[in-house]
Symmetry: C2
Subunit: 193 residues, 2 copies
């Protein structure tokens, strides 16, 4: 079951603004102010920089050419069961949206977050494999990534975003505006015997 687990802390809010290439950035406040970055972006808020070193920035991307070994390492770090790489590759290929979060220091970048969504390209999107590296939890980065994802899906005119949340992340998603079991609607699962 572990593969739709999400590991987040809902502590701080995070700033997300758009770079000229269309990527969203969360910048270290030592480089520029969160207010400046967030200006005009309805999804932005204040970035918690308390335990980030100078010169570190967070980059979001929707590129799909993710190193599968690096992704496996990220999933290992949160204790998920390994899955066949061939299937992970296919799932990424056929997801509607793939979002990765990178910690950038100088010329080096490290995958610290990931999520993907399936969709009918019209009404619904469903999030899967939402993960943030344990080193980066509790800093508002999960929240920043979710805001980025919601913004991307909204820009594609998707109005119904769904997910299946483990008990320990319900409050995190509630804080993002997600509602559990609205009008008594329940998530249900079927597995092979």
């Amino acid at each position: 079951m572990g593969f739709w687990k999400s590991l987040f802390s809902s502590s701080d809010a995070a700033a997300a603004s758009r770079s000229p290439k269309g990527d969203a950035w969360v910048e270290d406040a030592s480089k520029s102010s969160a207010e400046t970055l967030g200006a005009g972006n309805p999804y932005s808020s204040t970035y918690g920089v308390s335990d980030y070193r100078q010169g570190t920035r967070i980059l979001f991307s929707t590129e799909r050419d993710i190193d599968l070994y690096e992704l496996e390492e990220l999933c290992d770090a949160v204790g998920w069961s390994r899955r066949p790489m061939r299937k992970v590759k296919k799932a990424i290929q056929y997801s509607f949206l793939v979002v990765s979060m990178w910690q950038v220091r100088g010329t080096q970048r490290r995958l610290v977050g990931f999520a993907r969504a399936t969709s009918d390209h019209a009404f619904n999107a469903t999030l899967w494999d939402v993960v943030v590296h344990p080193d980066c939890q509790g800093k508002g980065l999960g929240k920043a990534m979710m805001k980025y994802i919601i913004k991307k899906l909204r820009s594609e005119d998707i109005s119904n975003i769904t997910l299946f949340a483990d008990p320990h992340v319900l409050d995190f998603y509630r804080g993002m505006g997600f509602i559990a079991d609205p009008e008594g609607i329940r998530g249900m699962f079927w597995y092979p015997d």
Copy 2:
């Protein structure tokens, strides 16, 4: 919210076997016996024919060229809110699986059931817009359609089938082997403000 409503009765079981073209059929017992139709098919069981007229049969199909006005009529019959046809068309186009259920009498056929699934083509599929015409509820046809859908998804190596069930259809899906909130995992929804 109405568009993922499902309207079923879980009364009778239904036989589903494969025609040479790969479609699954539920035949009127006046034409051939359910046992014969179900032979060798792990998803087949006994078909409830109590209020079906002679010469009527039920056909399942995965064809996507569905008359959108006929689909709208079916959704109207169960009281769903109308949706823009352009978006319904796109949702059908980008769904992983589209299943329709037809009532066939002689040369005439009538759309009596519909469902579609989004998927990452690897791990997960999520069912949407599961609908059975009120005239055809309580005859085991919803169950037959679900068995057909599960069989199709399993044949594509999808192991995790999910859906969001309205309260009044929870028992129907439970009867099909679906589990609500397994390990405390909850379905969550985000809508625009």
